[in-house]
């Protein structure tokens, strides 16, 4: 292809960046099709989601962050002043480290070890009644926790710490991917709807209303029931059902931005539509997108946890919801198995809520941070 030809094509799609992205996306699509119809597994289904999200993130997150370094620094300064947000970020960082490096130090979470079942966490002791068939008596034996299994084990001898670490990885991945899909989809629909207006807006909003009327969790359960529990699929479904709130918010923000005076001023100065969208509208929506995304992550994580908890999660994956379920079933013997995942979930949700609130305050020009 000649240089001129490339430039011409780039012009049509709105720039070299967009051309590159479209190229990457087509490559991704072809690989996916090949995987399904022609060859054996090229990538894990979850892998495809990651790559797709990666491409979108590259274009809309990484590149803008790089070119807008100074702006990013400015906002970061504002966020830093919010102590709760910083705490939240620290916790999230801790989770990431836990998820990435934890498995190196802990046993396999699925390894059942009946010798070591029902061990309490370090520092706790439980009593177990053992029936001695010879004497016909019950002897109470005290069992204490050991450092070998710092958080104890469940009734099948699986190490709780390992399970929690595995769950951290699952929750983070689901949070990232599913939120990515939901927010991307919601933003797309919202912006298109607001920008094109008219009939398109009408139809898209009616559709959004319909999807919004289904209670989120029940719809999730319904779809997983029909199609079966598989982690990649669950991530996809959460993303495909959780976009409605984002769509509405982005649409209303875009609509209100369109009529604001600074847009009129830009028009009066002679800016073209494209430039108005890219240089004026999008940057104002981006901060909203970031806040929405951060505040959606907890909901997504909870949704996956709830699904696993009721038994509709991916059985091959150890997630916090699954651990909680195991704990609930043996509440009288191994209560720590029920407590641990909930605490983790709680702090994770809290952390993302703090960060989201901090981001929202940092982006709001009217709040003095």
């Amino acid at each position: 292809m000649t240089k001129k030809g490339i430039k011409h094509l780039a012009g049509k799609v709105g720039g070299i960046k967009n051309l590159l992205i479209i190229l990457l996306a087509t490559l991704w699509g072809l690989t996916l099709l090949a995987d399904i119809f022609v060859v054996e597994k090229i990538f894990d289904p979850l892998g495809y989601l990651y790559i797709a999200l990666g491409i979108v993130a590259l274009r809309y997150v990484v590149w803008p962050l790089y070119t807008g370094r100074r702006l990013v620094q400015y906002y970061w300064q504002r966020v830093k002043r919010n102590r709760l947000a910083v705490l939240g970020l620290a916790f999230i960082l801790f989770l990431i480290l836990l998820a990435v490096f934890g498995p190196l130090f802990t046993p396999d979470p699925t390894a059942a070890n009946f010798e070591q079942k029902n061990l309490p966490p370090v520092g706790f002791t439980t009593e177990e009644s053992i029936y001695n068939p010879q004497t016909g008596q019950f002897i109470t034996k005290t069992i204490s926790g050991t450092w070998e299994h710092p958080l104890g084990t469940d009734n099948k001898g699986r190490d709780l710490l390992a399970m929690i670490i595995s769950g951290a990885g699952v929750s983070l991945q689901v949070g990232l991917l599913a939120t990515g899909i939901a927010v991307a989809l919601g933003t797309l629909i919202g912006v298109v709807s607001a920008y094109l207006g008219g009939k398109v807006d009408n139809i898209l909003m009616r559709f959004t209303d319909i999807m919004m009327t289904f209670p989120f969790f029940l719809l999730l359960v319904f779809i997983v029931f029909i199609f079966g529990p598989n982690l990649a699929f669950i991530v996809l479904v959460i993303g495909l059902t959780g976009w409605t709130g984002t769509a509405r918010l982005i649409r209303s923000e875009t609509l209100s931005l369109r009529t604001r005076e600074f847009i009129l001023a830009a028009k009066a100065l002679g800016a073209s539509d494209g430039r108005i969208i890219l240089a004026h509208l999008v940057p104002n929506v981006v901060s909203l997108i970031v806040v929405i995304a951060t505040l959606s992550i907890p909901g997504v994580i909870m949704a996956e946890a709830a699904l696993s908890f009721i038994g509709l999660g991916d059985p091959a994956v150890t997630s916090w919801g699954m651990v909680l379920r195991a704990g609930q079933q043996s509440l009288d013997t191994t209560w720590w198995v029920a407590v641990a995942p909930g605490i983790m979930l709680f702090f994770t949700v809290l952390a993302f809520n703090f960060v989201g609130d901090g981001l929202r305050d940092a982006f709001d020009p009217r709040s003095s941070v």
Partner: protein
């Protein structure tokens, strides 16, 4: 200034609601049909498991579900059946789905009703107090707790409550006893833990929203006018400010209903063993009893539609500014 605005508005909203209802039915239908296994297959697997003769049953199913007919006829049958009250047959419980729903809806209803009332009353009152006494100790405590309330996974809360009060302290039973008559104190007692579980998240949300809506309005000019008129402070807050704060509150509460309440109720019923619609739908999932799952999903969606409709109309009544469009 049209005097028929209310009637016109209601008609417009009803018409719109019908479209949404149609959309709900269609989406559900599509989802079921594009699933990997058809309801018939699942039905069959179940019958085979119970040792019934497949060949005759297949014929019966095909006739019943009209699966031999083209898809658009199936669709029309589907809608027709639903409207006529034929919601299918639940073979896991051996009764028509309608019957199943009739006997179990009351349990969900009592749970959701009690939780919503508690959450709304407590949440709104605390929110108002928090806003009026901003920065006081009570405000900080209330804000703190509401943050915790929305972050706690409500299913975990339920399990913890059971752990603490039922298992360790033995104050409650660990499961719901349907033998107890509904309108009795004993029933109320066994509903305490479930209601706390469900209402905590809601209450936290209501507190936050009320507080923020009140704060927004407390800064407005008309509050100063009200005080300049000589009105006592409690009238200024309770009547002038609150009446304005209610508007965004109503919208937010309605929005939350779909995501939090129904999902939460579903989980709460499962944890505490309350035989409401959520639980029977859940049981149906593991029994592959399609009809029940579809029915409960549809019901919940329609209920939300109804609630949205009512809220829209109430909102038009409450906010005079949008009436005269």
């Amino acid at each position: 200034m049209g005097k028929t605005w209310l009637r016109d508005y209601i008609i417009k909203r009803l018409f719109y609601a019908v479209i949404i209802a149609w959309g709900i039915l269609t989406v559900t239908f599509i989802l079921v049909r594009i699933g990997p296994t058809s309801p018939a297959d699942k039905y069959l697997t179940n019958l085979a498991a119970r040792g019934e003769e497949p060949a005759q049953v297949i014929a019966a199913i095909e006739a019943r579900y009209g699966l031999d007919k083209p898809i658009h006829e199936q669709y029309i049958n589907y809608i027709g059946n639903l409207m006529r009250g034929d919601w299918g047959w639940s073979f896991s419980t051996s009764m028509p789905v309608i019957e199943l729903i009739k006997t179990h809806w009351i349990y969900s209803f009592q749970l959701i009703l009690l939780s919503t009332i508690l959450a709304a009353l407590a949440g709104i009152l605390i929110g108002i107090y928090s806003a009026v006494r901003q920065y006081s100790k009570t405000d900080y405590i209330a804000t703190f707790f509401s943050f915790i309330g929305i972050s706690i996974p409500n299913f975990w809360l339920g399990v913890m409550l059971i752990l603490l009060f039922a298992v360790q302290l033995g104050l409650f039973k660990t499961y719901y006893d349907t033998g107890i008559p509904l309108l009795s104190l004993a029933n109320l007692k066994q509903l305490i833990l479930p209601v706390i579980t469900l209402s905590t998240g809601m209450m936290a949300g209501y507190t936050r929203y009320t507080r923020s809506a009140m704060l927004d309005n407390l800064r407005k000019e008309f509050v100063r006018t009200a005080r300049a008129k000589g009105l006592p402070e409690r009238v200024v807050i309770g009547k002038h400010v609150f009446r304005n704060a209610i508007l965004p509150l109503v919208t937010i509460i309605m929005f939350d209903l779909g995501s939090i309440v129904f999902g939460g109720a579903y989980l709460t019923e499962i944890i505490f063993g309350i035989p409401g619609l959520g639980r029977i739908s859940f049981n149906a999932i593991f029994a592959d009893d399609y009809a029940v799952v579809v029915a409960v999903t549809l019901i919940s969606a329609f209920l939300i539609l109804l609630i949205n409709l009512t809220t829209d109309i109430a909102y038009a009544y409450l906010d005079p500014r949008i009436r005269y469009d």
